[in-house]
C-alpha cells in the first residue's frame, strides 16, 4: 500500500526510516513538510521516497495514496485528520489528537463518517516488555485485575520554553501512561486524583507546571491504578508496569541495553538504562507501524482507535483539574 507522510520532523523521519527498512507492506510515495529542503530531499532519497513536497495537498489529493501518517505539530493534527478523512485515506496520527476536546471529537467523528481507519501513535503499547505483560494479563494468568502501577521517568526535563507550550506534564508526559493503564486494565477510568511537586527544576514551577507527579485512578471494575512521573531520572529512562490480580502479578523490569554485570569489591553493577527515547522504544515504533499496515490491509480495527486517543486526553484534563483544585475529579466532570 502506498502512503504519504505529513510532517518531516523528528517523529516523521523515524516512521519514514522504519517503514523503508522494516515494513515492506508499505511504500512511502510522498513526504510533505512546509519546511522541506535539500536535507529533507537527501533523507527521502535514503529512504527510497520518490516525492518531497512542501504541500500536504500533494498527499491528500493523490489517488494512489491509501493512507496518511500525520506527524505534523499537535495543533494541526485534528485538521489533517479531517482533511484525510474527507479524502478517504486511512489515518495514522501521532498523539495527542488535540488538547481541545471538541476538536478531538470532531476528528474522531470525521474518520468514522468517512469509514477510514484511524490509529493513534501510542507507541508504548507495542513495546516488547509492556506487551508481554499485557499478554500475560490477557491470557488470564493474573486473574481479575486489582492494582495497576506504572512508573515512567525521563532522563532529562525538557527546556522550560517547551514546558510552557506543552500543555503540562499530564498532557505531555503522563498521557502515555494514561493510555498504558487503560490498555492494561481492560476497564475504563472513572476518577483521578493527582499530586504534583516541583522538585527537579524551579523553572518548571515558574512556568506553572510540576515536574514530579503521582496520579491515582479508579476503574469502573473497582481496580485502582497508580502512575508516577518524574521529569528527571539520572540513571536514564525508567519505564515499568505492574498488574496485580487475583491469580498473580505480571510486571516488567526496566529495559537496559545489556545483561552484562560487573562484580567488584564495590558490589555487582548492571549498566545504565537508556538515555535516548528512540533507543528505548526502537522496536515499538516499528511494531506500531506494522500493526497499522495490518489493520488497513486486512480491514480490521486498528489496535489504538480514535477513542483510545480521546480517553487519555480526558484523563489529563481531570488530572490537571484535580491538581489545581486539590480533590479527586471524575472523568464525567471533564467530558
Amino acid at each position: 500500500m502506498k502512503v504519504g507522510i505529513i510532517g518531516a520532523g523528528r517523529i516523521g523521519k523515524v516512521h519514514a526510516k522504519n517503514i523503508s527498512m522494516f515494513v515492506p507492506e508499505m511504500e512511502i510515495k510522498t513526504i510533505a513538510d512546509p519546511f522541506a529542503n535539500d536535507a529533507t530531499r537527501e533523507f527521502a532519497a535514503q529512504c527510497h521516497i520518490p516525492n518531497v513536497s512542501t504541500d500536504p495537498a500533494d498527499i491528500l489529493n493523490d489517488p494512489e495514496i491509501e493512507a496518511v501518517l500525520i506527524c505534523s505539530s499537535t495543533d494541526t493534527h485534528s485538521h489533517f485528520i479531517i482533511e484525510a478523512a474527507k479524502a478517504k485515506k486511512h489515518i495514522f496520527c501521532e498523539k495527542p489528537i488535540d488538547y481541545d476536546l471538541n476538536k478531538v471529537h470532531e476528528a474522531i467523528n470525521a474518520a468514522k463518517e468517512a469509514g477510514v481507519k484511524l490509529q493513534i501513535g501510542f507507541c508504548r503499547r507495542f513495546d516488547h516488555n509492556h506487551r508481554a505483560v499485557y499478554d500475560m494479563v490477557q491470557s488470564g494468568k493474573v486473574g481479575k485485575v486489582n492494582i495497576i502501577k506504572v512508573s515512567s521517568r525521563d532522563p532529562e526535563p525538557p527546556p522550560v520554553s517547551y514546558v510552557k507550550v506543552s500543555g503540562g506534564i499530564f498532557y505531555d508526559m503522563m498521557i502515555h501512561d494514561f493510555d498504558m493503564v487503560r490498555f492494561l486494565a481492560g476497564s475504563e477510568v472513572t476518577e483521578v486524583s493527582a499530586y504534583g511537586s516541583v522538585l527537579v527544576d524551579p523553572g518548571i514551577g515558574e512556568a506553572g507546571d510540576v515536574d514530579t507527579a503521582v496520579v491515582t485512578l479508579k476503574f469502573e471494575n473497582g481496580a485502582i491504578g497508580i502512575i508516577d512521573n518524574s521529569r528527571k531520572a539520572v540513571y536514564g529512562y525508567d519505564q515499568r508496569v505492574e498488574v496485580f490480580g487475583s491469580e498473580g502479578c505480571a510486571q516488567d523490569e526496566n529495559d537496559i541495553p545489556s545483561t552484562a554485570v560487573l562484580s567488584t569489591a564495590d558490589g555487582t553493577t548492571y549498566g545504565t538504562a537508556y538515555k535516548v527515547m528512540w533507543d528505548r522504544y526502537t522496536g515499538a515504533f516499528v511494531s506500531e507501524m506494522k500493526a497499522f499496515a495490518d489493520a488497513v490491509i486486512n480491514d480490521t480495527e486498528t489496535p489504538v482507535t480514535g477513542e483510545d486517543g480521546l480517553y487519555p486526553v480526558l484523563m489529563a484534563a481531570a488530572a490537571t483539574k484535580s491538581l489545581k483544585e486539590g480533590r479527586p475529579v471524575k472523568i464525567s466532570e471533564v467530558e
Copy 2:
C-alpha cells in the same frame, strides 16, 4: 539487663524465643499472662525463663526488672505503658500504641515524664532489605528524595471476624507502611488521599472495610509517597520499597527463600515468596530487640520512639477519613 514480658501470645513468644536465643544482653526473668498455663510454663522453661505469672504486677513491681515488653492485646497497650512508666521501667511496646489519639498522647507523655525509654514495635524498619534501602538514602546516594513507593501485600486475608475488630485496613495493615514511608522519607507527611476497593473478599466489604487500598501522601518537603496494599497475593508476601531521588533510586526486590532458578521449556522460574510472616521477618524481630537492648544499655534514643508510634496512627485516621469522604485529608485535620 533483666526484662519482663507482658503477654504470652504469638508475638510475646516470638520475642521470648528470640531473646533467649539471640539477645544475650537481655535476660527474661518473668513472663506474665492472665491465661498462663502448663503450656506457657513449658515454653518458658525452653526459653530459660524462671518465672511464669498470671499477674503483670509481678513484673511491674519487681525491682530487679529494668525493662518491660508489652505484648498484650492492643486495647491494653497504653494502660501498661503508663503503669510501666510509673514503675520506672523502660518499655518496648507492640504497635499500635492505641487507636484513640488521647490514649496515645497520654502513654507517650507518661514515658517522657518518667524518663524511661519507649520503643514501638515497627519491626519492618529492621528488615535487612528495607534497612539497606534506608542506608542508601541516608548515605545521600539517592540525593534529595522525590518519590517514595511501598508495596505491601499479604498472602491471605484475615478472617472477617478479625477484620471487624481490627480498626480497618489502614490501622491494621497499612500502619506498617505508614511507618515505613516516614522512616524512608526523612520528612513528615502533611496530607493523605486514599482509594479503596473490595476485590478480595466480599465479606470484608460487608464488615465495612476494604481489602485493596492505595494511598498517596504529601510530605512537608514536597516529596510524594505511594502505598498499595492488598489482603491477598497468591504468590506470598510481597513487600517492596522504592525511594527515588535527585541522584538515583534505591529499591529492594521482594525477599524469597532461595536464589535457585529452574529453566525449562516453560521459562525460567524462581521459587515462591514467603507465605508466613514470621519467616519473612525473622531477622527483623531479632534486630529490633537488639536495638532496644542497645538503647537501654547505652542510654541512647530508641530507634522507634513514641512519636514514631503516634504518626502512623494519625496517618491511618486521615486515610480512613479520606476514603470515607472521598477527598484528600490533611494530618492537621485529625490531630
Copy 3:
C-alpha cells in the same frame, strides 16, 4: 562502497537483508549463486540489489566492486578468498576458513600478499552482551584475567545427516566458543583438554560425534578457560560468558526476549530464551557488517583477522585429538 555477495543461502541472505536495511555505507551490486533462481531475484529486488548471477566471476571481475562477502559452502571458502585476493578485493568470509590447516594458511597468506582486508564471520564477538563483557575486561575493571567460562547450548541438535559432514562438535559448534575465549582472554591458548559424551541423541554417537562436550584450556598467561556445549537445551539458546580476574568478575546473563515476569502461586517466571539463532544474534550480524565496512572505509585492521580465523580451527583440532586420545593436547601438536 560497492560489494558483491557470493552465496545466496541462509547466511548470504541475512547479510544482504541487513546491509540493505542497516548498513548505508555498503551497496550490494551483485549477488552470485550457482543455484540462483526466480526466488533469488525476487529477494534481490526486495533488497535493492540490481544484479543476480550464477557466476561468482561476475563479482570477482567487476572493477566497481570493492569488497566480497563469501557466504558459500565451507569447502569453497579458501578458494574464493584466494580468488578475491587475486582480484584485489577486500574479503569478509564466513567461518570457518577451512578445516584443512594448509588451506587456511594459504588463504590467509593470499589476502596478506594482496594487501586486502580479511574479516572472518565470528559474529558473536559483536553480540551486545558479550561485547559489554569484553569492554569491561578491556577497561581493566576485571584486572588480570584468571578464569574464563563460556556456556553455549543450542535449542535442538542438527540432523544426524548434518552431523556426519559437520566435522564434529568442536569444528561445528564449539568453534564459536574457541573464538570467544580468545577474544575475552587477551592471551593465546597453549593446550586443551576435552571431555565429551553422547547424552542427547544416540544417532550422533553412531555418527562418531559427541553431543555434550566440556573443554578446559590453558592460556599462555596462566589463565584457565572452560567451555561447555550441549546440542540441546530445552529452554532455548543459552549463551553466557564469564571473565573472572584479580579485580572482579564480568559476566552476562542469557539474553531473553522480554523482561516481563509473572508471579503466581507457582513462583516467579521469566519468559523462555530465544529458540532461533537469527533472533538471538540479530544485532550481532548487523554490527559485524558495519565493523567490516568501517575497516575497509577507514583502512584499519578488521576486528576479526585471518589469524582469528586460524586459531579456533587449531583449537578444534586439538580438542578433537584430546577427546580421541584421552589426554590434554598442546596447540603446538596440531599446528
Copy 4:
C-alpha cells in the same frame, strides 16, 4: 539426646552455639579440648554446657552421652571416630576424615562394625540455595543430568603457612565441591582432569600449591562435571552450582546479604557478597546439625555418610595426581 563435643576451636564453638540456640533435640553435656581455659568455660556457660574438660575421655566414657561431635584437628579425626565407635557413640565428624586413605577406611569400618551413625561435616549440602537446586534435580524437573558446574571462590587466600600444611587446594578447598558434584549428580565420578595456576599469590606457588584450579570430571552415567576454584574473589564469597539436564537447567545465584539495589548515573548496583564464611553458611551449619539429630533420633541413615566422606578424598587425590602428571586420572588409580 545428650552429646559431647571434642574440640573447642572455631568450628566446635559454632556447632555448640548453634545447638544451644536452634537444636532443642540436642543437649550438650560436655565440651572437651586439651587447651580448655577460662574463656572456654565462659563460652560453655553462655551455651548452657555444664561440663568443660581437657580430656576427651570424659566424653567417650560418659554413659549418658549418646553422640559425639568431632571438631578437633584433622589429624585426630580418624582416631576419635574409632574411639567413639568403640564407645558405641554416634558420630558427627568434621571433614575430611583424613588424607590417608587407609585411615579413612579404618574409621568408616569402625563405625560400621560398631553399628553407630557416622555423619561427615559437608555443610554446603545444607545450604538453602544449593539444597533448592538439589531438590529441583531430585524432583526430576531437570531430567537426566548432563552437565554439572560448580563455581567456588573465596574472598581471601589463607596464609602461606597454612597452605603448606593444608594438603593443597584440592584437599583443603575443592573437597567441598567434590562433595557437591557427587551430591548433585546422583552418579559416581570415574575420572578427573585438573588444571591449576598460581595467579593470586606467588607465595602459594612457592609452597608447592596452586591458587586457581579447574577440574573436569567424568561420571559413570556419562555426565560431565566442571569445578572452578579461586582463592581470591575481591567481591566476596562466590558459590554457585548449575545442573543442566535433558529437561531443563537448575542453578542458584550467588547469595548476597540483601536484595537492595541502587540505580545512579553509573548503573544499577547490588551490594557485595558475603566476606565471612560463617555468615555465608549460617543456616547450613544449623541444618546439618538438625539432620544429624534426626538421623540418630529416628534411627535413619545420616545424610552424609562415611562413604560420602571417602569419595571427595579420592577425588582430591586424583586431582592432585592429574595436576602433577598433566593427564586425566581415573579414580580407580588412587583407590
